[in-house]
């Protein structure tokens, strides 16, 4: 009796969802893996099986490894800055300061603007507004467009990503801070903990669940960055700010080497999956219950 109704429940509740999941995630994924073994150019009807030749091609594609290294650098900067900044701002915004709701909404706004639009807005800011400021004030920092110098263009990318992402993370951290048990805080104060000690021993461990989520979100988002990369720098100057996801797209569609691009995408996927998995495992272990 019981098992029978379970089967029916499964059909009613899980099957539609499972079907969608398989159709839009599993099948394309498996198909994508299959494509890495072919020499498909994206349009022809024949797909020749080439074995692991594409993976050998990835090893030889120096530009891919350069862009992957750059992506790592970018991820480190973005993840660290976003989380530290968001944590600090969220902390300030939950201490009952005047107008904190206004600030919360304000900080969140950049996140509502799509990556492409945001990139174009900042491109204008970097190449026109800043340059104009530089011209009229004579500040060397702004005299030439940031986007025409490799290291400054990279800094610009990090800056814009931080600006966009931190609002979202602030929201999660704010929720975490609001959920902190007042009793525990009060008890800690009575026991003489204050300032840094309270932060390190009481607040941080209790905030670990928020940290897990935020780190995961920033990590995966930063690794997969494409929209801001495309609209802000498009790899300029001379291909020095081309991140891994963009390189994969260029390989597949501009160079028309679908198999090779797909193989690079698969490698990127494995790296991101491993790192995010490891991060969730490590931070989960640190989570405590109040």
């Amino acid at each position: 009796m019981k098992s029978k109704s379970n089967g029916k429940d499964f059909c009613i509740f899980a099957l539609p969802g499972l079907f969608c999941f398989v159709a839009v995630v599993i099948i394309p994924f498996v198909y994508g893996v299959y494509l890495t073994l072919t020499d498909w150019d994206g349009v022809s009807q024949v797909k020749n099986f080439v074995g692991l030749a594409n993976f050998a091609g990835v090893a030889k594609d120096a530009q891919f490894w350069t862009s992957l290294l750059l992506t790592f650098k970018y991820v480190v900067f973005v993840v660290v800055i976003v989380n530290v900044l968001a944590f600090a701002i969220a902390y300030l915004l939950t201490r009952g300061m005047k107008g904190q709701n206004f600030f919360r909404a304000g900080f969140f706004t950049p996140n509502l603007i799509g990556g492409i639009v945001l990139g174009y807005i900042w491109q204008f800011v970097f190449s026109r507004v800043f340059v104009n400021i530089g011209e009229s004030t004579g500040w060397g920092l702004f005299e030439v467009s940031w986007l025409s110098d490799p290291s400054k263009a990279f800094a610009a990318l990090v800056l814009v990503s931080v600006w966009q992402l931190s609002g979202y993370m602030i929201l999660i951290y704010v929720a975490g801070f609001m959920g902190l048990n007042e009793d525990v805080m009060e008890a800690a104060s009575i026991d003489g903990a204050s300032g840094w000690v309270k932060m390190k021993n009481i607040v941080l461990p209790l905030m670990m669940s928020s940290v897990t989520i935020c780190l995961f979100l920033t990590l995966s988002r930063a690794f997969m960055v494409y929209d801001v990369n495309l609209s802000l720098t498009a790899g300029a100057p001379y291909g020095t700010t081309e991140m891994a996801a963009m390189h994969v797209y260029e390989k597949a569609f501009t160079s028309r080497q679908f198999g090779l691009g797909q193989a690079e995408a698969l490698i990127l996927f494995i790296i991101v999956a491993c790192i995010s998995g490891l991060q969730v495992y490590l931070t989960k272990k640190k989570e405590v219950q109040a």
Partner: protein
């Protein structure tokens, strides 16, 4: 309750600020689509005469046209309305959205089993798709009218040449004359040395940096660099031969004269670049404004730049034209006297998924463009492009296209277009950017080109 109200106010303010940011960014852009003064005037079309014979059996057919030439989207829609009124065939014009490449778009449409009946594509794309997807058009009547402008794949014609486009150094005659205080005759400049002397005189007369150079990779990688193949002997076959030789290692780039001359020319352009201090920070819209305002006198570009110039305030009556991409001091060398002009956009008919009737309707549409009085006028005047068909008596309206048109008819152009791999512009465009920024030298640039071709084997 009070808290709720405060939240709502906060959200409202945040939204107001966001819209402020979004609209604020329009400040300083060249074009304002809402500005009635900025509207481009359009020449009226005479629809009284139409001797084209429409095939009545096609009435009610509906076909699609993928358009990758954004500036003629509106014009194509108008053409489709006119065509439907007369033939009963509906042509749905689909634009390739900004940021998508035409090839990516057409490939995704094919992969979803819903390809456009007609697609406007670049020549390289047509060659990539021709044999498997395209309808063989070798038997079409218009072939006879487009002599010299057809693209053949294995001896067959798979595409319809839509327009001729040319590129070179655009000049603003008024700006030159006002700066120098004398008449300017573009024909008087016949060598790189004379051009450099002119730039120098302009600089001395107060126009310190008289030239604009786009930093975009498509401009540098395709429009500049491809001159080294196209000037091999000034024909498309020659360009192909040069490429094959470079690939095979038979043509050593380090001692290839055209590459050396090309870099010499590029160095001159670089020296007088208005964005010389920060060449990679140059802004495309601003270049059009600078040229139209007379802050600069030259801009390396093609006749497709007219909409930008027109938005920047240039008028159809103004005197703009092209100087050749001078490459040396030999007056007799064709590169110093002729402008590169060749068919750039091709229309392909899907031969794989479309029905017999749809194909017939698509062919009729192409014939209508070539043979009907209305189609001819709309191609030249509404789309404002240079028709490659000898029987089309109409001239394009804007000064840049008109200049190319006149030069084509006076034999002052060379028709060569290099067919290069699809990532040529992006990969070598980056190498050119590096050279433009002064972060690599001749040798490194030459090596990058050589390396690129070595990888294509």
């Amino acid at each position: 309750m009070k808290k709720e109200a405060r939240k709502i106010i906060a959200l409202g303010l945040a939204l107001a600020m966001a819209t402020g940011v979004l609209t604020g960014c329009r400040f300083g852009f060249a074009s304002d689509p809402d500005d009635p003064n900025g509207e481009v005037e359009e020449e009226p079309i005479d629809t009284s005469v139409d001797t084209f014979e429409y095939d009545g059996s096609l009435e009610g057919t509906s076909i699609t046209l993928l358009n990758s030439k954004a500036e003629i989207q509106v014009a194509l829609e108008k053409m489709s309305v006119e065509f439907e009124e007369r033939s009963g065939v509906h042509v749905e014009v689909m634009p390739v959205t900004d940021g998508d490449s035409p090839y990516t778009k057409v490939v995704s449409l094919y992969n979803s089993g819903n390809p456009p009946t007609l697609s406007i594509l670049d020549t390289t794309d047509v060659i990539a798709l021709a044999k498997e997807k395209a309808e063989d058009l070798s038997g079409e009547e218009w072939i006879g009218e487009a002599d010299g402008y057809l693209t053949e794949v294995d001896g067959k014609v798979y595409s319809f040449p839509l327009c001729i486009e040319g590129r070179g150094i655009i000049y603003n005659k008024k700006a030159i004359e006002e700066t120098l205080g004398e008449d300017f005759d573009p024909a008087s400049i016949t060598t790189l040395g004379e051009f450099e002397a002119l730039l120098n005189r302009l600089a001395e007369a107060g126009m310190e940096k008289p030239l604009s150079l786009a930093k975009e990779d498509w401009s540098l990688g395709a429009h500049h660099l491809q001159f080294i193949y196209e000037t091999y002997d000034g024909t498309s076959e020659g360009a192909q031969e040069a490429i094959e030789k470079i690939k095979a290692g038979d043509l050593d780039l380090a001692s290839y004269g055209r590459l050396e001359e090309f870099i010499d020319t590029f160095d001159v352009l670089k020296t007088y670049n208005v964005a010389g201090k920060d060449p990679l920070g140059a802004d495309y819209d601003e270049m059009a404004i600078d040229l139209a305002d007379g802050k600069t006198a030259f801009w390396f570009n093609g006749n497709w730049a007219w909409p930008n110039l027109s938005e920047a305030g240039a008028d159809n009556g103004d005197e703009y034209g092209f100087l050749p991409y001078f490459m040396n001091n030999d007056e007799k060398d064709f590169v110093n006297g002729q402008i590169q002009a060749s068919p750039s956009k091709q229309v392909m008919i899907d031969g794989q998924m479309s029905s017999e009737k749809e194909r017939a309707a698509a062919k009729e549409f192409l014939n209508w463009i070539v043979y009907s009085e209305i189609g001819q006028q709309m191609l030249a005047k509404t789309c404002n492009i240079i028709p490659p068909f000898a029987n089309n008596p109409y001239e394009p309206g804007d000064p840049l296209s008109r200049d190319i048109y006149e030069k084509v008819h006076a034999g002052e152009t060379f028709n060569a277009s290099a067919i290069v791999p699809n990532d040529h512009w992006s990969i070598l465009g980056a190498a050119m950017q590096k050279y433009l920024a002064g972060r690599s030298d001749r040798e490194e640039l030459t090596d990058s080109i050589q390396q690129y071709w070595d990888e294509q084997k």
